[in-house]
């Protein structure tokens, strides 16, 4: 991987994966104003889900992605009804702490179940590469990125063209008006949260296809998702794509230039920069409400 085109192409592929991996966090943040601190551990759970499905039942990651949808959606509903909705009326801080507790709890359960060892998935295309228009790219990146793109497309279409999608937008923009028009805002809030968890789980399956993973890395994925949200905003898939692509390209470029252990530091540096720049933008609730 030495040509500039390859670096950029890899960055784009990475970016698509990061976009999907961040979408769950962005949706619950933008639509429900809930910062799901357990997002990272859910993503990693998705990765282990793919791993276990592959080794127990020889289910390929691409099939596992589809199976992850209902499984993680249900889990999201449980998390929402059992924790988030109940604690919402207490205070914002309580919701944060509750989700933080959930993150810690899930992480320790994950360690007990899967240990802290690093895993990776090997399928038929894992170590091969594909050459398109003179550019050589790893096949697993391509597959995962393509799957991510398809999922993103489906979500975007659903948001734009279905009544449900419009209800979700309404929920994000003016929940009281939606309520008055007959939208059961509480039920839809649960559905949206469930979907955000489902997307997180599905993205975990895809990342398992590409990267080695371990339970502790959940905080890294939370960080990535957060960077995407900071850079791209909470406005929708378009914003997530911007954030994801920026992150993917940055990582791809820095991978070429810096030794491995510094890449993380640079990524966090990006975060710091994004914080400073975006900090103002995320400052006031009222400022941002249109």
């Amino acid at each position: 991987m030495t040509t500039v085109t390859e670096v950029i192409a890899t960055g784009v592929l990475l970016g698509l994966i990061y976009t999907l991996a961040a979408l769950g966090l962005q949706v619950s943040l933008g639509v429900l104003r809930v910062l799901n601190l357990a997002h990272g551990i859910i993503v990693i759970a998705g990765a282990f889900f793919a791993f276990d499905l592959l080794h127990a039942w020889h289910i390929t990651p691409l099939l596992a992605v589809i199976l992850a949808l209902p499984v993680f959606f249900l889990f999201g509903l449980v998390l929402d009804r059992g924790l988030v909705q109940r604690v919402r009326r207490v205070s914002e801080q309580a919701v944060l702490l509750g989700l933080f507790g959930a993150m810690i709890l899930l992480q320790s359960l994950a360690i007990l179940t899967w240990t802290t060892d690093s895993r990776s998935i090997t399928v038929s295309y894992t170590n091969s590469s594909v050459t398109l228009a003179g550019v050589t790219l790893p096949a697993d990146y391509l597959v995962a990125a393509a799957a991510a793109l398809v999922i993103l497309g489906i979500i975007a279409a659903a948001l734009r063209f279905t009544m449900a999608g419009r209800a979700v937008q309404a929920l994000a923009q003016n929940p009281e008006a939606a309520r008055v028009l007959g939208v059961n805002v509480d039920r839809w809030a649960s559905i949206v949260f469930g979907l955000s968890v489902a997307v997180a789980g599905m993205s975990g399956v895809l990342l398992a296809d590409v990267f080695p993973f371990s339970v502790q890395e959940q905080s890294q994925w939370l960080a990535y998702a957060f960077i995407v949200v900071l850079v791209g905003g909470t406005g929708g898939i378009r914003g997530a794509l911007v954030g994801g692509l920026v992150l993917g390209l940055a990582q791809s470029v820095f991978n070429q230039v810096l030794p491995l252990q510094y890449v993380d530091v640079v990524v966090y540096g990006l975060l710091a920069a994004a914080l400073i720049v975006r900090g103002g933008g995320l400052a006031s609730r009222r400022e941002r409400a249109l």
Partner: protein, 362 residues
């Protein structure tokens, strides 16, 4: 009023004013203060001479968390900004001590001011970058920054990466050392709690509460929210930094993974929340409970199980007793008559307020 529980009471119980209450109030306060001073003196005596060393060493950890949780309480409890970055300042203080004490050949305890300054500098940097973010964003930012600083420590030359740093010992026996550190942490804990107690009696306290309850309104009213939040962060950071200095001096070998261990932040937050984050006695109660629990239950079973319990504890507290132990006690001791009215037929619709940045059609 507790950080997590929204009640309709404001102010502290001891601020009840009114004619004729003055002298009785003053006497109560005086008695309270004398009792506290006596307790501290007793504790100091216990730690320094007649307490059993094993118990004292446990107490050292409890006191460290009292200090950390107390410092955390100002930004986290009063202002409601969940700060998961305590260990960041703790670690900065520890490393500052390690580096300067060996570079300048000083007794590490003498470098406490350096640790404090280093922690303060870190707080300023981080605060300026992240305190413009609201609640949850800030929480996540501190969480991630902790990891970032940890990776930085693993990479920078001055910190010797994963090899860690040695700190010159104090040249006293381990038993003597335990007692000395007991005194040090006791002093720090007392200072931290005292600071909280004092803050509750200033106007700054109401401003912080206002920030927690409705930051926009507070800003509109002219409260310099960023400055206040930064100060709150600074105080907590300095306390954590000094705690880090003592910690480094005590264990005299530090390395990034153990020193920037996220579990320290976690334990701090859990301690404050379990005790009741909105009052000065909350962190005190909480730290005692969680650390004693931790020591008793997890002496043999470390790591994962303690994290598991912290997670369960947090969720349980948030679901059942958002005000922590202090909140429960408040509820039990409350003396006004039970409200005559039943709950409204349905909880009033809570409008979701959206911070929506750019709402393009996706």
């Amino acid at each position: 009023m507790t950080a997590l529980g929204r009640t309709d009471e404001t102010g502290t119980a001891s601020q009840a004013a009114g004619p004729g209450r003055g002298p009785a109030l003053f006497r109560r306060r005086l008695v309270g203060m004398l009792a506290a001073a006596a307790a501290v003196a007793l504790a100091a005596a216990w730690g320094s001479s007649f307490g059993q060393v094993a118990a004292v060493s446990i107490a050292v950890i409890v006191l460290m968390y009292v200090a950390l949780a107390g410092g955390w309480n100002i930004l986290g409890g009063y202002a409601g900004y969940m700060n998961f970055g305590t260990v960041l300042f703790f670690g900065v203080g520890a490393y500052a001590t390690a580096i300067t004490s060996s570079a300048w050949h000083l007794n590490p305890l003498l470098t406490a001011p350096v640790a404090a300054v280093a922690a303060a500098a870190a707080a300023l940097l981080i605060g300026v970058a992240s305190l413009r973010l609201r609640g949850g964003y800030f929480a996540i930012a501190t969480f991630i920054l902790t990891l970032a600083v940890q990776s930085l420590a693993l990479v920078l030359g001055i910190t010797h990466g994963a090899q860690g740093l040695f700190i010159t010992g104090l040249g006293i026996s381990p038993i003597r050392a335990t007692r000395v550190f007991f005194d040090l942490f006791l002093a720090l804990a007392v200072v931290a709690i005292l600071i909280c107690w004092v803050i509750e009696r200033t106007r700054w306290y109401s401003a912080l509460i206002a920030i927690r309850e409705d930051e926009d309104a507070a800003e509109v009213l002219g409260v310099p929210t960023t400055r206040y939040k930064l100060t709150a962060l600074l105080i907590g950071a300095v306390i954590a930094g000094i705690a880090g200095c003592f910690y480094a001096a005590q264990i005299y070998y530090i390395e990034p993974v153990g020193t920037f261990d996220f579990n320290i932040s976690l334990a701090t937050v859990v301690a404050a929340v379990i005790g009741g984050a909105g009052r000065w006695y909350g962190p005190l109660i909480g730290a005692i409970i969680t650390e004693l629990l931790a020591q008793e239950l997890f002496v043999h079973v470390q790591g994962v199980y303690s994290q598991l319990s912290y997670g369960i504890l947090l969720i349980a507290v948030v679901l059942a007793a958002p005000g922590g132990v202090a909140g429960l006690a408040q509820r039990a001791l409350r003396r006004h008559p039970a409200p005559e009215r039943p709950e409204p037929l349905q909880p009033t619709a809570q409008p979701l307020t959206i911070p929506a940045t750019d709402k393009e059609i996706p």
